[in-house]
Amino acid sequence: MHPTLTPGGWIFLSLAWIFILGLNAYCMAKLLREKKEEIVDPLTNPEDDAKP
């Protein structure tokens, strides 16, 4: 029985926390950066110029 955290214990604890906090931060950042609707002004839409 180890009386206190060994270097191995610290490594596992830190890596697990970093992985999970990192994953949560990544998801949060992506969620906050919602895709903006691409609204194209009909007057500037190049496809409209091609129509007869």
């Binding site: 955290l5 596992f12 697990a16 998801c27």
Partner: protein
């Protein structure tokens, strides 16, 4: 013509609802016991491997299949699998996605109600009195075996709290997806986070906490050579992410047609892992080690999940300043986590009655509630006879893995990986690495088949034949003593009957639809 179905009000709403479904008692009690028993920090290696190769992919599959089914107005497993496979047999496989959540809720709401009861007793001080008298064990046993009463001895306390919890659950789902489930999830999930962080702060400021963390996190690499450790880690991932139950499938069916599912699923899983590894992995076992000493931890771990949650934790808080406050926070945290899980398990059968039989929400809830109440009372009165263990085994273990395997095979091999991959990526806000396409097609289904086959080979026979159960053992049920083998066999027959009844309803639902279609389009 598909009828208009309810939809989630916001993306964050559905993420919190799915995260709420996943975050439950298992995060705070089951995970730390498993990790401490199977290698400490080293357990995290198979655990995260299973998270990447089993958990994340299967959750993506469920979200994708659910959104696809919702497009055709199907919100439960029979309808969704029928829409995906388009073969008559597929809908019957979906009965597993109805019986699974029902089976779990038969006992889960009862256990959830214990948390409400204990939160109440923490506030009144009765729990602290039991802790001071060193009698928290008998206090817990008297409560769950209906010996503790309320209202001058007229009503068993456990029954009263069970009924209160049961009707609270029905009330939430009665509000519907947006006004009931989404609203309660958006309200409760931040509360769970705050309560969890309060407890985390308390644990991390305990003297000698590194000793407690050592017990939980110091790696024992020899554990990695044992297949059981890998199996336990995979089982934990299955259990914790609420996959293979049918709840995620149903929740995803209410997602908008082209709304992202890849990021939403990943976000819900990430939130669940926060609650499990960071909160669950830090609070219970390290605290128990600090307060009782590492020498006693094995005895405590042997008390099982309920012993740890309902007896050890109140005793631990009883040795600290503000004991009643922290006891209340602990039980309130678990109760809220339980409610968000049980409402997610209520929704699949309700969606089935609404979508496939055209029933109104109120009628769907009445039918589901009636079945749930009858079987829930069986769990209440049959706890001492082993009813809860039996329901947990078939619902919380077998049905999950079997249905998860069915979903994985249908997604990758029947629906087709190309279609599945395209469907998953539609509207996605993240770019999923192509490596996961291979994982979805080969690794996840194979992984699941191995788990299932291993279980069949090692345990199936002994479970079916009730090996290890004393043939002469007598157990209490409804005030009588009955033979345990007879009781379990009878209960199993009831569960098989329920599964057959669900399949019969599926048969009649599709037959009715065919007749309705003929009446509407007689010349087709």
């Amino acid at each position: 013509m598909a009828q208009q179905r309810e939809q989630w009000g916001s993306k964050i709403g559905v993420i919190l609802a799915v995260a709420g479904s996943a975050i439950g008692l298992g995060n705070f009690l089951r995970f730390p016991v498993k990790a401490a028993s199977f290698g400490g920090g080293a357990f995290l290696i198979p655990y995260f491997v299973a998270f990447l190769l089993l958990g994340i992919p299967l959750a993506w599959m469920e979200w994708t299949l659910g959104r696809y089914g919702g497009r055709y107005s199907h919100g439960s497993a029979p309808g969704i699998l029928n829409a995906v496979v388009r073969k008559p047999w597929a809908k019957y496989l979906g009965s597993l996605g109805i019986i699974g959540p029902l089976l779990i809720n038969f006992y889960y709401i009862y256990i959830e109600s214990w948390l409400l009861g204990f939160a109440w007793y923490a506030l009144t001080g009765d729990l602290m009195e039991a802790v001071s008298a060193n009698a928290v064990g008998p206090f817990f046993e008297n409560y769950i075996l209906l010996k503790t009463t309320l209202l001058h001895g007229t009503v068993p306390a456990a029954l009263a709290f069970f009924l209160a919890t049961f009707f609270l659950n029905l009330l939430v789902v009665y509000g519907g997806i947006r006004r009931g489930i989404e609203r309660i999830s958006v309200l409760v999930m931040p509360i769970i986070l705050v309560l969890g962080l309060i407890l985390l702060a308390r644990v991390l400021t305990l003297p000698n906490i590194t000793q407690g963390l050592a017990f939980m996190w110091n790696p024992d690499f020899s554990a990695l050579a044992k297949p059981r450790v890998w199996l336990e880690a995979s089982g934990q991932i299955f259990f914790t992410l609420s996959i293979g139950i049918g709840a995620v499938l149903t929740y995803a069916s209410y997602v908008k047609r082209k709304q992202d599912v890849a990021l939403s699923s990943l976000s819900a899983n990430a939130a669940n892992e926060f609650a499990e590894v960071i909160l669950g992995g830090t609070i219970v076992v390290p605290m128990a080690v600090v307060v009782f000493g590492a020498a006693n931890i094995e005895t405590i771990a042997k008390m099982g999940t309920f012993g740890l949650g309902f007896q050890t934790m109140p005793m631990i808080f009883g040795k600290m300043p503000l004991p009643q406050f922290f006891q209340f926070i602990w039980f309130a945290l678990l109760f809220f986590a339980g409610v968000t899980s049980s409402i997610s398990l209520l929704q699949p059968p309700i969606a089935f009655f609404e979508d496939e039989l055209g029933m109104k929400r109120r009628s769907s809830i009445l039918v589901t509630g009636a079945v749930l109440l009858a079987m829930g009372l069986l769990a209440v009165y049959g706890l001492g006879a082993g009813a809860v263990d039996e329901m947990d085994f078939w619902g919380g273990t077998v049905a999950l893995v079997v249905f998860g395997t069915v979903e994985a095979i249908l997604f990758s091999w029947v629906f087709g990986i190309e279609r599945g991959w395209k469907e998953l990526n539609e509207g996605s806000q993240i770019r999923i690495p192509r490596f996961f396409k291979f994982v979805l097609q080969w690794v996840t289904p194979t992984y699941l088949v191995i788990i299932l086959v291993t279980w069949f080979i090692t345990d199936f026979r002994s479970v079916i034949l009730l090996e290890g159960v004393d043939r002469a053992a007598q157990v209490p049920f409804l005030g009588m003593m009955v033979n345990k083998v007879h009781f379990i066999t009878g209960l199993r027959l009831v569960l098989v009957g329920l599964l057959l009844a669900i399949n019969a309803v599926i048969f009649f639902a599709w037959r009715k639809r065919k007749l309705d279609d003929k009446l509407l389009h007689p010349l087709d």
